[in-house]
């Protein structure tokens, strides 16, 4: 079943158009990767989907249109976003950041979930009372991911989740994402430069170049595409 259905999406900044009508889908419980060079429009795509940018075209999530819906309403539909630049609430503590992740939830299992993500990123547990703004770059990246997960979303938009993470943490993170995806059926839309790792957990991928999708296919198909190998896999 198609969870996210995007077609003809156009978005940009003021007079500058960045996305020139892109189409793609994410099925329920699927993990999809978006590859693309610097400035290709990956971040723009994710921001448009979570309502942070004015956009045209069509994008539906579970049958509901996302176009020009308020970001907070989109979040409440079950879409979480790990933004590029992390979007930390710098003046708040680590724990408060995580609680905010669960803002739209009404259930009583928030504490249990915090614990769960503390297990994934033990550094966060050690620093649960530290001001998030004073954490190291990688620590904040962990926080951003954990915060998004706290919403128990149906779809997570991850914008370069491995940015600034140590290799060992990156490996753990992707293992965890794969598990979430497998066990809980959380759909993932991952923008990632570590293409090898990302494709290893994804079922499909898209390649974005200057605002247009130029290639698509399953993980293995892409891994065999020469263009992709040269630019994104470094082999």
């Amino acid at each position: 079943m198609t969870l996210l259905d995007v077609s003809g999406l156009v978005a940009g900044y003021g007079p500058v158009q960045v996305l020139h009508g892109i189409d793609f889908t994410v099925d329920a419980g699927e993990a999809v990767v978006v590859l693309g060079a610097n400035g290709a429009g990956k971040t723009t795509t994710l921001r448009a989907l979570s309502g942070m940018l004015h956009c045209k075209g069509s994008a539906t999530f579970d049958g509901q249109s996302l176009v020009n819906r308020a970001p907070s309403a989109i979040a409440r539909l079950g879409i979480a976003h790990v933004p590029q630049g992390r979007g930390t609430f710098t003046e708040l503590t680590v724990e408060e950041n995580l609680r905010l992740g669960a803002y739209a939830r009404r259930d009583k299992e928030v504490d249990a979930d915090i614990d769960r993500w503390f297990d994934v990123f033990p550094r966060l547990r050690d620093r649960s009372d530290q001001n998030a703004g004073s954490m190291s770059g990688g620590e904040q990246q962990m926080l951003a991911i954990a915060r998004a997960m706290m919403a128990r979303p149906r779809l997570v938009l991850l914008d370069e989740p491995s940015l600034g993470l140590a290799p060992i943490i990156t490996q753990g993170l992707f293992a965890q994402l794969a598990e979430l995806n497998r066990e809980l059926g959380v759909a993932l839309l991952i923008v990632e430069q570590n293409a090898m790792l990302a494709l290893s957990i994804a079922s499909r991928g898209y390649v974005l170049e200057t605002g247009e999708i130029v290639a698509t296919g399953t993980g293995t198909e892409l891994q065999e595409n020469d263009e992709v190998r040269r630019a994104y896999l470094g082999v």
Binding site: Y13, L35, G36, A37, N38, G39, Q84, R123, R127, Q130, S134, M135, S136, G137, G138, E139, Q141, M142, E160, L163, G164, L165, A166, P167, I168, I169, T170, Q171, G172, F174, A175, Q193, A195, L197, S200, R230, A231, Y232, L233, G234
Partner: protein
């Protein structure tokens, strides 16, 4: 001969020990990589070297001078500049202006003379602009010179930071995760650029990076931090095999 000697540097924040009596040195002309898990204290060390953080104890000797005796704005004159892990550009300035700020120290005429358009002021200004354009061209950014910095792609911004740091004509260039957010091919290209500018500008480079391909590819020497202390040091090939480093930092790729 060491250009920079870090001795017993200790930084604490409340209960957190960010640097735990760290000691190491970098030889002139080296590319020295500083790696370690998140929160190991790499950026903190950069901040100590730029005098943004005050260490509890220790000394930092750069070419015979104790850095810790100087105010932050004197560090650049000594020959140390850097890029930032979290982008630190001047978003309202154009790309060229950003780089020209890097050349602040060259040909400073003083505000009064500038206000009076004293002879020489315009010449200095032109020289700075020319230097800026040359650096941008060197880093493949010439076409962006008159664009405002805000809104450019992440990787481009990182390169502008390098250009700005170079504009101050440093002897030691410190780069904090310059390859973050780049694709594989871009990472390789940047690695090449860094080696090349080291040679062209006679630099010593201190590099923090989580892209192991780049670290292993271009560095002469690697220092590994964990919890603020040095856990290993050596040539890249040795470090890659060091079990402690693998356990704390590298992991075993799936």
């Amino acid at each position: 001969m060491p250009l920079l000697e870090v001795e017993d540097i200790r930084v604490e924040f409340g209960g957190v020990v960010a640097l735990d009596d760290l000691t190491f040195s970098i030889d002139t002309g080296q590319i020295c990589a500083l790696i370690g898990p998140n929160g190991a204290g790499k950026t903190t060390l950069f901040n100590v070297l730029s005098r943004l953080y005050e260490p509890r104890n220790g000394r930092v000797i750069f070419d015979g001078t104790n850095l810790l005796d100087l105010p932050p704005h004197k560090i650049a004159s000594l020959g140390i500049t850097r890029s930032f892990q979290n982008l630190a550009l001047f978003p309202t300035l154009t790309v060229l202006q950003n780089v020209m700020v890097g050349g602040y120290r060259s040909g400073g005429a003083g505000a009064v003379r500038e206000a009076l358009a004293w002879p020489g002021v315009a010449r200095d200004e032109r020289a700075r602009a020319e230097q800026g354009r040359a650096l941008l061209a060197r880093l493949g950014l010439a076409h962006l010179a008159d664009r405002p910095a805000a809104g450019l792609p992440y990787g481009t911004l990182k390169r502008i930071e390098i250009a700005r740091a170079l504009a101050a004509r440093p002897r030691l260039l410190m780069l904090d995760e310059p390859a973050a957010g780049l694709t594989h091919s871009e990472v390789d290209e940047l690695g090449g650029t860094i080696s090349a500018i080291r040679d062209e500008f006679d630099l010593t480079v201190l590099l923090v990076e989580h892209h192991m391909s780049m670290v292993m590819g271009i560095s002469d020497h690697v220092v590994v931090l964990d919890f603020g202390s040095k856990i290993a040091e050596g040539v890249p090939a040795d470090i890659a095999r060091n079990p402690r480093v693998i356990e704390a930092y590298l992991g075993t790729p799936a």
